[in-house]
């Protein structure tokens, strides 16, 4: 089951207007993604960490997620320093470690972690449905928003159906291995999932038609922007401008 471990809470962050959180997170992520200065990236990583602390989320869960992303980044560290040509930093046996490669890998590491932490602190701290509505209020097209919400709604149903199919295979003695029978069984399961999902989509659409669906969705959630949210907006604006100024004022990164 896909869970939302951070969604429910009572921290200051949880009480901020979701629209403002979504808006600033996106802006902030863009600034980090486009920055190259190490000073900017390190500052951003610290800022994101502070946000996570303020949001009082379960630190264990945070580490679990960071761990997952950094496992991927570790692969970059295995490849980039050896393959990105430029100034040679040092040599290990027949392999050269290039300076730009190391810099690049370090930048990616800092950027990803800073962005991920910001998303955990600001976005993952709202239920998915709220995120959808916030996006809608931020003028993201309705169809995209509902694609997102419907995907989220039915991913659980599809997951259940997948488990049901797999169970059906298992109780008849199916044991996954590296053989053609296993591949065929999984292919059947996946094929069946597609068929069932298509049939399900058809029925959902019918159910919607029965309730007078005319292609328009409605959002019931009302958002309130309190003092805290305005204060947060001001602080975030100042910080983001600060990061941009830092990035632009110094010279090239390498």
């Amino acid at each position: 089951m896909i869970s939302e471990p951070f969604a429910i809470g009572s921290s200051i962050v949880h009480q901020l207007d979701p629209r403002i959180r979504v808006g600033f997170t996106i802006l902030y992520a863009f600034v980090i993604a486009l920055a190259y200065q190490f000073s900017v990236l390190i500052a951003a990583l610290m800022l994101s960490t502070i946000l996570v602390v303020i949001s009082q989320v379960n630190i264990k869960e945070v580490f679990k997620r960071i761990g997952m992303v950094n496992a991927l980044i570790f692969l970059l560290w295995l490849v980039l320093p050896f393959t990105f040509p430029g100034e040679v930093l040092t040599r290990i046996g027949p392999f050269a470690i290039y300076r730009p490669g190391v810099m690049f890998a370090a930048q990616i590491t800092l950027k990803s972690n800073a962005i991920l932490l910001a998303f955990i602190a600001l976005i993952a701290t709202m239920p998915f449905a709220t995120l959808g509505h916030a996006l809608h209020r931020l003028r993201v097209p309705q169809k995209i928003v509902h694609l997102l919400l419907m995907t989220y709604r039915y991913i659980f149903v599809i997951e259940q159906e997948y488990k049901r199919l797999l169970r059906a295979a298992k109780i008849r003695g199916f044991q996954p291995g590296t053989n053609i029978n296993t591949y065929r069984t999984f292919a059947y399961v996946i094929g069946m999932l597609f068929v069932r999902s298509a049939a399900r989509a058809e029925r959902v659409h019918q159910a919607m038609l029965c309730r007078g669906f005319k292609g328009k969705f409605y959002n019931l959630q009302e958002f309130k922007t309190g003092m805290g949210s305005w204060l947060f907006s001001i602080i975030m604006t100042v910080l983001i401008i600060g990061l941009i100024v830092m990035e632009v004022s110094k010279g090239k990164a390498f």
């Binding site: 998915f128 919400l149 989220y152 029965c210 309730r211 007078g212 409605y218």
Partner: protein, 275 residues
Amino acid sequence: MNKNELLINFEGISFNYPGGIQVLSNLDFHFHRGDRIGLIAPNGSGKTTLLHLIMGLLKPCTGRIEIFGKPAKDEKDFADVRRRIGLLFQDADDQLFSPTVLEDVAFGPLNLGKPKNEAIQIAQQTLAFLGLDGFENRITFKLSGGEKRLVSLATVLAMQPEILLLDEPINGLDMKTKARLKEILSSINLSYLLISHDFDFLAEIVDATYTMQDGKILLDKELHLHEHVHAHELGTYPHQHDMSEERKNIPVGNRQKTDDRRQETNNSNQKSETS
């Protein structure tokens, strides 16, 4: 409103799925205001197809459909039909697609053009009526099976339909939720058509039971299905009896009683037939 007004009129309806065998053949079906009809028939006999034809989700191959006194042919006709007839789907997961319960229940009223406040109010009233107060912000996919079924019913009732079509509403429900549903159905003043495989459930909440055979609808007495009350172990669970065998086993005194009950049922059937 005329109590016996003809609401749904199917004349000579035939239907087959593309490339499939004929499901309905030359079927006639009449549904009047105030009717509370149960439909009990084997799997694959076309019960769900019938409901989907009423809602215009499927179109008949031949025949004439008249609903609320008007011919129903194209999408435009059925848009009006769907406004006034509510269909409860077999699988609640098909019906509940919104993230939260309140949004799902308010979806219908909003589609009917109700302003937001009013839609929310209707949704809350409907939930309260079904004893689902406090469910407003629950996430639909995290509800239990029974809760899902009741919330689906709320989404249909929130549209304030004149007729309710229920497709196997008690499938997979526990005794408690089943009893709750029975209570709700007997307390709402609505005409309904209910598909079920559960004799005992049907017997308590419908006035007449129909069955389907060879793509046609038959009144139950033609098939000698009848309501009867008896006691045995596990009797509260849905079950079927071999009727001829059973008759032999009933003590003579009780047999009389059973016959009386059957007489009653037939009488009530005749009433609805002539109405």
